[in-house]
Subunit: 235 residues, 2 copies
């Protein structure tokens, strides 16, 4: 049975890394003594080792040992045998390119579908949907495909932001970008605000956190989704 | 000899479409009575016809007839024979996918290099660089390559925005995104603010407009480039 937390962000303004989620993670990973961390998204270009060290520091607080996936020779086996898995944020294109390069996209999906507890933040959440076609990131590398894990039957837009009506900037708003996506695709897109996350237990998907989310569907006006809503039927 | 205007945006806050550039375009296209417009980037998902009509309205003011590239059966021939070419903004991934789909990426590059006057705005400017790896757009479709026209030997970031130091939003700033690009690529990136454009005359590249631009190079601190600067040696 799937057991997943899909978070918009790792860090809230004024907080430390994963601080706001830590009580939740303590429950989520309560039967685990170790976790395999996937550092491939490399935020700001930091190394796999630096990134894994940062995550290790945080998980020490809840007595969970962290191993970086980059440390394993046999990466598919490391994921299959993991007690739990966490994919951190950074650049989604890079993350996806690396998952394909190491031939772990399918095994990661299968492993999490079988019930290995999973945590994703930002880029690590983006890949839980059907594709990365609604990421906010820059295409710094060319991945062999935009298709991702398909752990949920819709797409995400993490760090979702409403349009700033005061702004004189003429670049597209987040809503316009998602509208452009829907000119060519029918997949629903959930705009997840910072501090929001999806809890996936088996086939049940619930919106958590203090804020509402914004749901975009092709040819429909966007909808407000309140925290606690059941999204299991969204597809 | 190359004769190109590469503009950050089509429209300034409070202005109408191409209004701020119109005196410049009158000079740029002074020997032309018609222009071929490439509407493939489809901003907000509008149709090729709607987009071309909008452009037609504007160019009527300077007595230039507009034909949409989508109207031509033989698209490579239409570009080769064009008096002038304009590629409008919208979604860069879609634009690039369509240019490859219609097999006009190479012919467009060759035609403009031979001297056909060209105007690009936003997505139509992005493709003047070496690749679309520094676009701000959402990857709504999967193009067969990120490589583009190579009319200038560096990349652009149109609609460039400085970080908002007041913001509590934790998504990456534009500067961080470009830094991530430089963790994997050595191509310089010029952040072009709205209202700025590059004038390319033969091999001479000059920054135009009221504002400065921001230049990012791998392993170097970003530099301020003042309007009027010669960027011919940047690569």
């Amino acid at each position: 049975m799937k057991n997943i937390i899909i978070a918009s962000t790792s860090t809230l303004h004024g907080g430390t890394y994963l601080e706001y989620l830590l009580p939740e993670l303590q429950l989520h990973f309560k039967n685990c003594t170790s976790i395999v961390f996937i550092p491939f998204a490399r935020p700001s270009g930091i190394s796999h080792t630096e990134y894994t060290d940062k995550v290790r520091e945080t998980f020490e607080k809840i007595n969970i040992e962290v191993k970086g996936l980059h440390e394993f020779e046999d990466k598919p086996k490391a994921l299959k045998n993991a007690e739990a898995i966490f994919t951190g944020g950074g650049n989604t294109f890079l993350l996806v390119q690396q998952l394909y390069h190491h031939q772990v996209m399918t095994v990661l999906s299968e492993t999490v579908k079988k019930g290995t507890p999973y945590l994703g933040t930002s880029a690590g959440s983006n890949i839980c949907g059907l594709s990365i076609q609604t990421t906010n990131d820059m295409p710094i590398v060319y991945p062999p495909s935009f298709q991702t894990l398909g752990l949920i039957p819709f797409n995400l837009n993490p760090h979702y932001l409403d349009a700033d009506l005061q702004s004189k900037h003429m670049g597209e708003t987040r809503e316009t970008r998602i509208k452009e996506f829907h000119a060519f695709n029918n997949i629903p897109v959930l705009g997840l605000r910072e501090g929001s996350w999806l809890e996936v237990k088996g086939e049940k998907i619930t919106l958590k956190g203090d804020l509402s989310a914004r749901l975009f569907e092709a040819n429909q006006a966007p909808k407000k989704i309140t925290s606690g809503s059941d999204l299991s039927d969204l597809k």
